[in-house]
Amino acid sequence: MRLREVAIGIMAATLLFAIMLAVTLGGTGWTPSTEIRPLAKFYLENCFNVFNKDLWAASPEAVCAMLWDYRGIDTYYETAVFFLAVIGGVAIFRVAEIKISVTRERQRGLSIIVKSVSRIVFPLIVITSASVAFHGHLTPGGGFQAGSILAIAPLVLIAAFSRHFIEEDLRLTKDKCLTLRTVGLIAIALIVAIPILAGAMALMQNQVKPWSHHFSYPEALGPLWLAGSLFFYNVAEYLTVGAGFTLLFLLMSIPEEEFRRILKL
């Protein structure tokens, strides 16, 4: 038994070393080198090429241009996977509405210092996340990152005050989160559908391309650069992810004893 484990260990180490050597010597293509791959060159050259607008995405940020324009359908399905995971979580935790005695819950929470700091930090987190979402097509960030930041705000409140504070005082219940989440996903689908309904023959293309020269979202609104539909995608994704995570955090913070009582364990 012991010999077998040693043999497995040696084999694993050899395999690891072989993989490492293969990667380092260029087995997976060009590992960090001074040049980048031709595919990357294509995206970098075309994402904001104002001199040749045939393939551009109108976003100076190559990653956002790839996510929502060149590989837009991928990103849509990725959002759908996240949505399904949230639905799965809700299905596992499907219980009747949990009622907690108000007075008992109100006395809980962390100290007054933590509560005061949370009150100050909460709007700051929301503002930061909004700025990340609204600038996602110009600066690092985007819908998913902004949504993740937004979801931290209710998490802070759950820790500092209580779950009850969010549900009763902020009126942000589980069902409302689910509705917001669905609204976000439908908004993404609508943003995709509008150009098709208007006659353009391409899915998830935010700018006029040689094969879809009928309709596209405006690339700028006065001094504001919108990058076509990228701005709207980012905002919709922001809503979707923020509400989805808030919903999951709300479900996870259901008190254990309440749950056990309902499950009759």
Binding site: P32, K41, L44, E45, V63, T139, L265
Partner: protein, 130 residues
């Protein structure tokens, strides 16, 4: 140059070792929680590895974001010559979202398993009947 190559080899060695340890954790971890932790470590390490593949050596290296809204032809060629590869970053964003979704769902499943069976130890769960 030699130091760079050694550092690169060291980076790969570290990442692949972490992958190996996390794989071991997934297979041999006694508790579902430990398996989940190992799974998240595996996912994060894979993401770092992918980002690592997209990096480029050289003098000045910039993120793949054009710093101006009024570029000239020269700005665009300069951008191509200094920006890192955006493709791995894009893949990693997708991977992080899906990883997050899976982690959340598994966490929910594990919590429910604990509530129903009172344990997260795989061997104990396997011995339970009904």
């Amino acid at each position: 140059m030699i130091i760079e190559a050694i550092l690169q080899l060291y980076g790969y060695a570290a990442l692949i070792t972490v992958v190996a340890i996390s794989l071991y954790g997934i297979v041999r971890g006694p508790s579902l929680i430990k398996k989940l932790i190992a799974l998240t470590i595996l996912g994060d390490t894979a993401n770092v590895l992918i980002i690592f593949l997209g990096f480029r050596f050289g003098g000045e290296i910039y993120p793949p974001i054009l710093p101006t809204l009024n570029p000239t032809q020269e700005t665009i060629s300069w951008f191509i010559s200094v920006a890192v590869d955006p493709v791995p970053q894009c893949l990693v964003i997708t991977a992080i979202v899906i990883n997050m979704a899976i982690t959340m769902f598994l966490a929910f499943l594990i919590i429910q398993v604990y509530r129903l069976y009172g344990t997260t130890m795989v061997k104990k769960i396997a011995r339970l009947k009904g």
